[in-house]
């Protein structure tokens, strides 16, 4: 699985040559008509300012509002799913696009405006300079910006503990969707990526594939519009489903490797 991007990564230990890399900014959008325009414009503006080769790929997960009309007019690559696949399925569609079209990195940015475009260079630099395969934008390394509710933070600590127990990696913000992966990881996730609540489970997949994972501190905003994919009643289901998924993914991948 050697490719040009991983070789490039190794050579660039000191200089940040971000302009060299083609980056796919994958924005999953489900009923995000209020926020999507500014999210896409912010990324494009940043790319122009910092001279980064970023293409914004909006994956519309069969929205019922006018998301599809909006993204056909703004400056982005619009991918419209014919049926609703859930966040994981939408993001994976973006991964497949990025893999097919030869991007070096894919960075996932939520369509609701939680992830500020200004933090993107920090994440890219971390991947390039630290020679990392996966970089996660974390809210909890230094506590700045929107911190989420107490209940959610308990859930996040729980996943931190579970990840640590199973694969030994400590990820502070394992539910963060603000993450960058390189081409090596793209080949894996375009084959297998969880459908619902994919973030904590994906970390297990990355760890068991021996990818180098890093976390950088970013600040996040509260959502700009739309509703969270996780409601209050769904929280218990979320914990249960993700726990099961993590444990079974762990067992499945462990046995495959033996």
């Amino acid at each position: 699985m050697t490719n040009s991007s991983s070789i490039n990564l190794k050579q660039s230990t000191t200089v940040v040559t971000e302009g060299v890399y083609r980056i796919a900014a994958i924005v999953p959008a489900f009923n995000e008509e209020e926020a999507i325009t500014s999210v896409v414009n912010d990324i494009n503006q940043l790319a122009a300012e910092k001279q980064l080769l970023i293409d914004v790929i909006v994956v519309n997960d069969c929205s019922k509002d006018s998301t599809s009309e909006i993204i056909s007019k703004i400056n982005c690559i619009a991918i419209n799913l014919p049926i609703n696949l859930g966040i994981g399925g939408a993001v994976q569609t973006g991964f497949k696009y990025a893999l097919e079209n030869g991007y070096d990195f894919a960075i996932q940015i939520d369509g609701d405006g939680q992830h500020p475009a200004s933090e993107i260079p920090k994440i890219i630099s971390a991947a390039v300079n630290g020679n990392l395969d996966v970089v996660i934008g974390s809210r909890f390394i230094t506590k700045e910006g929107f911190q989420s509710s107490a209940f959610r933070r308990i859930g996040i600590s729980y996943f931190k503990w579970l990840n640590h127990l199973l694969v030994g990696t400590i990820i502070f913000d394992s539910t963060s969707g603000f993450r960058l992966i390189n081409r090596k990881v793209l080949t894996i996730v375009s084959e297998y990526y969880p459908d619902e609540y994919p973030e904590p489970e994906a970390i297990i997949v990355y760890s068991l594939n021996n990818f180098k994972i890093g976390e950088v501190s970013v600040s996040m905003k509260d959502r700009q519009g739309g509703v969270s994919s996780i409601g209050t009643f769904a929280s218990v289901y979320y914990m249960l489903k993700v726990t099961l998924a993590i444990i079974f993914t762990f067992i499945r991948m462990k046995f495959k490797r033996i």
């Binding site: 690559i77 419209n80 399925g89």
Partner: protein, 115 residues
């Protein structure tokens, strides 16, 4: 032959007929019909041969023969439900792949028509 036997045989036969009709019309795939045909055949068999049920119950150590029927039926239903869940999971993942392919192809076509 008692009334309930006749009723059981009639219902089972009608059921079998309905399954055959579904297969002929292409509404039920053969692989999913096997289990139904087997179940109906067993039903017909024990409607005709009532002593057989008592014999088997006695053999496996079940005191009340009807309990054997319930146990067997519930077990069969559970297994079949699990089978259906597996089928649904497979369809789910195939459906996802198809949707993703379609979305990517639609994008490719619209990119081409722009140029």
């Amino acid at each position: 032959m008692v009334k309930i036997q006749i009723i059981a045989i009639l219902v089972s036969l009608l059921f079998l007929l309905y399954i055959v009709r579904l297969i002929i019309r292409g509404k039920l795939r053969e692989e999913y019909s096997i289990v139904w045909i087997v179940c109906t055949t067993i039903l017909i068999l024990f409607s005709l041969w009532r002593d057989g049920l008592e014999l088997i119950a006695d053999f496996v150590g079940v005191y009340e023969a009807p309990n054997l029927v319930f146990t067997g039926a519930i077990f069969a239903i559970l297994i079949y439900l699990l089978h259906l869940s597996i089928v649904v999971s497979k369809l789910h993942s195939q459906n996802k792949q198809l949707a993703q392919e379609i979305a990517l192809l639609k994008n490719k076509i619209s990119e081409k028509s722009k140029v």
